[in-house]
Amino acid sequence: MSVESLFPRLEALLPKVQKPIQYVGGELNSTVKDWDETTVRWALMYPDAYEVGLPNQGVQILYEILNEMPETLAERTYAVWPDLEALMRSEGVPQFTVDAHRPVRAFDVFGLSFSTELGYTNMLTALDLAGIPLEAADRGDDDPIVLAGGHAAFNPEPVADFLDAAVLGDGEQIAIAITEVIREWKAEGSPGGRDELLMRLAESGGVYVPKFYDVAYHADGRIQRVAPNRSGVPWRVHKHTVMDLDEWPYPKKPLVPLAETVHERFSVEIFRGCTRGCRFCQAGMITRPVRERSITTIGDMVEAGVKASGFNEVGLLSLSSADHSEIGEVAKGLADRYEGTNTSLSLPSTRVDAFNIDLANEFSRNGRRSGLTFAPEGGSERMRKVINKMVTEEDLIRTVTTAYTQGWRQVKLYFMCGLPTEEDADVLGIADLAKKVIKAGREATGSRDVRCTVSIGGFVPKPHTPFQWAAQADHETVDRRLKALKDALRGDRDYGRAIGLRYHDGKPSIVEGMLSRGDRRVGKVIRAVWEGGGRFDGWSEHFSYQRWMEAAAETGVDVDWYTTREREENEVLPWDHLDAGLDREWLWQDWQDAVNDVEVEDCRWTPCYDCGVCPTMGTEIQIGPTGKKLLPLTVV
């Protein structure tokens, strides 16, 4: 049965909305396949506005891989802004894909990539506009399988009622496997309806189907146990790890939008995973082990991607990009290749390290000098030991001074507030550190023209990290410390004007904290917030703390219990049945080490410290050097 394009009906609405181009599709390198010539069809959603969602690597990778498969089709959909949502409701236009403007409900899978929990309300809008029942229990055989992935899917429990399934870890291989399970089931005539399909997915061990698990609670509200409620369903569901990134060189053909988006560049992931062991960092814990892409594959991907897109900036992505074993050669090779072409290179996520200034110099050869950002994360030496961010004050001052003497006038320093064991003095230490940086910079350059911007985020404890047991700081404490820091900087006559401060109030972190470490009972808060008009919670102009607190009160959910309460070692955590490979005892030990200011080294260069991932997952560290070099581009 063919599916009609919704575009003619949508088109009549577009003159009335802001930035209509975001709904039109037709991006360079996008794909529209014939519906009737495919048997398995995915609608992929990044549940935020188009300008944020389009550049998302995860969605672009899966989109390309699925569309490369025969008889398989993938299209994309994004959150529509409230102006279009209102018109779609009044005119009865359902949630559509931007590729061929097909209704999302007509697809086999509705796959959502959650980088952050703040996209949950946008998922509900999309489901509702699509005409798909919000609760998985109310869905029938004509509804797609609603499937979540992305980092937030490592604890999907708060949205368990709205999901049919979730997948943990790297999506490349499991997306293909799911496609084949669906294809086979459909070829057999869809026996047993959606329940049998979900059962087939669950039995594979790689797909979590929340409804096949029952959660029992203690009288005090803690979880007693989470157990499968039918045979054949595994007790634990494991994450997926792609080994050998050179075999998966995606995206090959990056999507180039007409509308303006948050990242206007071609990004290549230079490695996946990080073993630096920063204890606050969920990404570093759940994406282990480190798997490098080789210098030659990086070079090939950059060459092809720039050619296919026309982007004039290349971003080398990873969790700590300067840690690639051949980053120096990569930087030099690419800078040589693009000399004189006005193609600039950028290296987000770098460590505090003088070596990185050399890299930055290399990278700014062919374009403008973007700012330099370093992330000491903690304001005091003690705090940095707690979070295992092994950067000394001397390191930081030396690195930033080098940057100033090499011509950078402005650096950005990133910190967190509300970390476990943090006291007022730790946050005030940020002011001292910033002043020392400026002082050293002025002495080294002989100029007063050096500046730094201190940027502070609120810390949110995340599942599958050593801080998963920690009490989150309440927003009053965070706000008080931030105000003291602001006063300390502003009141300083000599340095105050050389130091900028950027921060947000602590309230959004509390909501994020509840959604991050919540269990299935938090779902009704999300639903109540959405019903009360909650949308785009990642956007300060749409986010309403009050709406969240009122919804929690209405539904009888104690926000403090989920956020500011410290958990005991033996408490069953809502995500304990979901396996990121990390050994629970190791995580607990690391949490104890944190409290005792004990640091742990990176296992790439020191012996394994038994976090558990490699033996559990059958994976290994894959790093260079390969000793290869990038050759100059051949002139056509």
């Binding site: 088109e11 209509p20 037709g26 360079l28 004039n312 006005n342």
Partner: protein, 259 residues
Amino acid sequence: MAQRLRVRYAKRGRLRFTSHRDISRAVERAVRRADVPVAFSAGFSPHPRISYVGAAAPTGVASEAEYLEIGVTRECDPDRFRAALDTSLPHGLDVLDVVEAGAGSLADRLECSAWEIRLPEADPALARVAVERFVTTERVEVERLTKKGPRRFDAREAVLSLEVIEGTETTAGQASSQPCVILRMVVRHATPAVRPDDVLTGLRLVADFAPPVPPEVTRLAQGPLDVRTGKPADPFDLDRDSTRGGETEPVGQYVGGDL
């Protein structure tokens, strides 16, 4: 910079929803993909020498006549340049004509625009009455929200001609046989610019005429006002005269396999 080329391009179909900023990014990328030898400005933050001439058709308005100038570092054959840039741009942003820049400013030649407004489901009789009233009124003050706040100005004087014709409605490439009111007009470029929606506002003010569904607006042409026809002439005529001496064959020597 070896040469300056003048480009006429169209914004059609779905791509009429692109804003001017969107188009400028798309052109920069298309130029890179097409390997066109675009010149860059000097300085700390070099940018390609591409300038947009005249007032861009607003977001949501289609156009058959938008103009830009581009500087290149090597002499290019305009026809090959046209084909290369057109292939590289997304379907719907179509390069129609390229000439080597002659003497004089292109911006000065863009004196007026011809517009077409399709009004599906509108009443032809009411439209005729409204247009009649509009053209016989001396001044029609309208208000438009600009970046600097609401602004009042006369929408009548700049309108050199305005007529109603009846045609066939087309939406999203689907032709139907339903009759449709079509307004055609020629508007002189002035400050503040009088745009098609200002004229529609004027029709509402003078005769309470309001289209039932969003109008489909297209700029048909831009150029110097041809007093004989009362319509814009091709602004590239002068460039063709000076670079080709009035001949139809290009004089520019084309060398090598690429641009």
